[in-house]
Structures are given as C-alpha cells and as structure tokens.
C-alpha cells in the first residue's frame, strides 16, 4: 500500500522529503554530539583515572548534560563592562556556524535510488566538497580571533594569537595530506571518494581479500598527518594551546559564561565530529561496511527490503566509525600532555609540512608512473 502511494509522489516532492530527512539526520547528529560527548568525555576520563565520574543524574549519569544545559540557560547572561559588546556577542555564533557547515558535504550513506531519483546521502552534493571543507574550516578561526580580541583581556588575546598561528600552520599540513588522497581517487567529490573505497584491498592486480579497500592502507602517512592536523584544528589536547588552562586561564573563552560559553563548547564538539566524519570518509572507507552485503544476502531478505537494510547498516557503520574516532580523541586527550608552543610550531612546520609535501610528490610520481 505504502509503496503504491510512493509511486504517485512527484519527483520534486521526493527530493524535498529526502532533503528534509537528511537535514534532520545531520542536525540531530551535530546537536546531540555536544551533550553526549561531554558526558562520554567525563565518564571515560574518570574511568581512566580510576574514578566513577558523573553517575547521579539519570541512568549512568546520561542526563548530566541536560542538567548542565538547564544550568547554562538559566545562568545570568553577564556581559563584562570592558568588552567590545557587538563583537563579543557575535563571536560565539561565528565560531559555531562554520563548525556546523563543514559537515554538509560529508557523505553518511551511499547514493540511493527512490523511484528513479538518485539521492546522495550527504547534505549537499557538491562537486568541490574538498575545497569547500578546507575553506569553511579555515573560517572557524575567525570566531576565536573575534572572541579573544573583543574580550579585551590579555589572556584571551594570547589564546587568540596562539589559535591563529596554530590553525594556519596545521591547515597547510592538513590540506596537503588530503591532496594525496585527491590524487589517489582522482576526484574532489566526497561521495565519489567514499564510493571508490568499496571491495577488497588491491594494489593493481594484487588483491588482498580479507582487508577492505580503505584509504588508510594506501596512504598511511597522509592518515597520520591528517590525524595530527585534525587534533590541532579542533584545538584538542595535546594541541589545546589556545585554551591552556594552566598558562592562560581558558584562553579565548575566558570572558564568556552561560550559553555563550557553551556555544564555544558545541563548536569544539562539532569540529571534532566533522574531523571524525572526514577521517572516516577519506581513510576508513566512509559508509562502506565490509561484509555487510554478503551477510545480508546470507539472510535471504526480500528483494525490496534488501537495499534498504544495506543502506541502514551502512549509515550505522558510518556513525560507528565516527564514534570510534571521537573516542580516539578522548583517549588521546587523557593520555598526552600539552605541547609547548615552540614544539607545536616545530612539529607543524619542520615535520608535518615537509612530510606531507613528500607524500604528495611520491603519490603523484607513483600515479604518473602507473598512468604512462
């Protein structure tokens, strides 16, 4: 019955419904990332330090974030007298928007076919997805700079300066590590990159059947560089110099409180989510679930249910990959101490950038050698 009715739906209506559904999925993912990650971070950190962590509010303390949100909303919305008011108020928003925007091009599922309409399971089917990511994620630094400068506070400004220098240095390494990936897959469309990572691992005609065809096996160096750069881009430990609690109190969000502060918090987690999504897309095969197709075929599902079950599993797989990389963020945060500023700059300019350059040149040479 439902299928019969679906046939009569106009193609534009299908696109509209698909757009709305994708929008809601991505928005829920991004909005729920912050409270869930805040909870997970506190619980996991405490387990690592042989403590229990917040376990009072709700089951396993899951509602702790809700309690925190209520607290933030009802907190006095204080604007210090010495700040540049307009920039001070607008900075958290500028910080959050690019963080949310970047996820628009991350494919969380394959291209599906609904009544002859091809719907790519990513928010925006953009052919220049790669360029879009790099340009938008660079915008995030503006929020931090404006916040730090408008706060009119020496510690905030130090945090802002550090953040600028750090983000610009690591942007370069990140972009160049991704150029190797672009050369490898011969496209800048993220959906195509994810699609071409299906099947077993093969180098030319040499096939390794038990390993998936993921970017991490082709570009391990780019993977490492991207991971390090992603940590620096998201201002996470060991690269959280802009915050540096011990040295510059809290850096750029020192003068913020209540909901304005929690917007910075949300932006950080949204950045982490986007970085995880990009990592999954470029290096962990995106939405590909190795073995899922064969497994489902084994179950002898009906002809019309099979593709939908596969898509559901693939979306779940993508989410799982993202979650795993988010957990990796947390584990690293509570393992490594903070870098010193000169160490950070040295790592960025003297190690990561040359390595990424070498990686690009070698990848290009190998691809050129194979082509001609």
């Amino acid at each position: 019955m439902a299928r019969e009715r679906l046939v009569n739906v106009e193609p534009t209506q299908i696109l509209l419904i698909a757009m709305l559904a994708k929008f809601i999925f991505v928005l829920m993912l991004l909005l729920n990332a912050a409270p869930l990650m805040a909870w997970a971070e506190r619980r996991i950190c405490s387990w690592m330090q042989n403590r229990t962590g917040p376990n009072r509010v709700g089951p396993f303390g899951l509602l702790q974030s809700v309690a925190d949100a209520v607290k933030f909303i009802f907190k006095e919305d204080l604007i210090p007298a010495h700040v540049r008011k307009w920039y001070y108020l607008v900075a958290p928003g500028i910080c959050v928007v690019p963080a949310f925007l970047t996820f628009a091009v991350v494919p969380f599922g394959p291209v599906i076919d609904v009544n002859g309409q091809h719907i790519s399971l990513q928010l925006t089917e953009m052919n220049v997805g790669f360029v879009y990511i790099l340009s938008i994620s660079s915008l995030a630094v503006y929020g931090i700079i404006i916040a730090s400068w408008a706060s009119n506070n020496k510690y905030s400004m130090l945090g802002g300066l550090r953040s600028t220098a750090q983000m610009i240095s690591y942007e370069l390494a990140m972009g160049m590590s991704l150029i190797a990936i672009i050369l490898l897959y011969n496209t800048v469309n993220l959906q195509e990159i994810a699609t071409s990572q299906g099947g077993p691992l093969h180098f030319g005609n040499f096939v390794i059947p038990f390993l998936p065809n993921w970017g991490i096996f082709y570009q391990p160096l780019a993977c490492v560089i991207f991971t390090v750069a992603a940590f620096a881009e998201t201002n996470r430990l060991p690269f959280d110099l802009p915050e540096g609690e011990a040295e510059i109190v809290a850096g750029y969000h020192l003068e913020y409180g209540g909901m304005k502060w929690s917007l910075f918090f949300m932006a950080e987690y949204a950045h982490m989510l986007t970085a995880s999504g990009l990592f999954a897309t470029f290096f962990l095969g995106g939405w590909h679930a190795p073995g899922a197709g064969a497994l489902l075929q084994h179950l002898h599902l009906a002809e019309n249910i099979f593709p939908w079950a596969l898509v559901a599993i693939q979306v779940l797989t993508f989410t799982l990959k993202v979650i795993l990389f988010m957990l990796f963020f947390i584990v690293i945060r509570f393992t490594l101490p903070r870098f010193r500023y000169d160490q950070l700059m040295k790592l960025g300019w003297k190690i990561l950038v040359p390595l990424a350059l070498a990686n690009v040149i070698i990848t290009a040479a190998v691809i050129a050698a194979k082509t001609y």
Binding site: N50, R51, V224, V331, F334
Partner: protein, 147 residues
C-alpha cells in the same frame, strides 16, 4: 643534579610512545579498579580512636560531669565553657556546658583530662551545618546515642 637522559630514535619519533601511553590509559579504562567510593551510600570505616564530634556520657540520665574544670583548663583552643552549679544532694554539676565547635581543634585533650569519663569524642565526622553553632549541654548529651 640535573640528569639529561638521551632519547632514542623511538622516543624522538614519538608516535610509538603515544601508542604505549594510549595502551596504558586504555588498560586503566577497561581493567582499572575504582579507588573512589560513592560517599553517602558507601562509607569508609574509621579507627575507633578517631577524634570526631564530642558527647557527654550519662549514667541513668545524669551526666557524669562534675564540673571539675579540667577540660576547659587543658583545652588549647579555649573552646569549652562550663558554669558549675549545685544539685539538691550537694553534688557539683555543670549548669552550662558549651563547646564552640568552630574553635575546637579535635586534639582530644579534654577526653584525656576528664577524671569521670564524661566528655568523649565520637566517630561522627559530618559536622557541616547551616549556622555557626555552639554545642550546648542538651545537644552533647543526645549525641551519645548517635555514636
């Protein structure tokens, strides 16, 4: 003396060290045993000799104290205030027995000085309050049952 350790290639490479450090934190995450307790539900057991809140011992509803003034004399914090009086049977007794618990340093000298075993220190350590109170005689007599 500052000893500078030479770092090997693997240490300077850092990624291997990161992996080892991650392994240690992961080990604590999955196999670590909590060293904290869930306080109001679980409690640590303290020694019987723990010096907590004071109480006055009473026999058949009559306090042991004879207002001999040894405890206010020995008290280094000067927090015990006693006003002596006389009962019908000519026995000396404390009309007022007050302990300013905010001044008390819980040294237990009053307990040691007391010849009648009247003032004692219990195991109670939860003395947080909403007001700055001075424990009076009635309060101190009740506290014995809470020990």
């Amino acid at each position: 003396m500052l000893i500078k350790k030479e770092q090997g290639f693997l240490q300077r490479f850092y990624l291997v060290e990161v992996a080892i450090g991650t392994w240690i934190t992961m080990k604590n995450w999955f196999f670590g045993k909590n060293i904290t307790i869930q306080y109001p539900e679980e409690r640590r057991t303290y020694s019987n000799r723990y010096r907590g809140q004071h109480f006055i011992k009473a026999v058949n509803g009559v306090e042991n104290c004879t207002a001999c003034m040894l405890c206010p004399t020995v008290c280094p914090a000067d927090c015990i205030h006693i006003e002596a009086g006389e009962r019908e049977d000519k026995e000396k007794y404390p009309v007022k027995f007050e302990i300013d618990i905010l001044r008390c340093c819980f040294c237990g000298f009053c307990e040691e000085a007391c010849p009648k075993d009247a003032i004692k220190l219990s195991n109670i350590y939860e003395m947080a309050d909403y007001e700055r109170r001075v424990y009076d005689k009635d309060f101190l007599l009740i506290q014995r049952s809470k020990k």
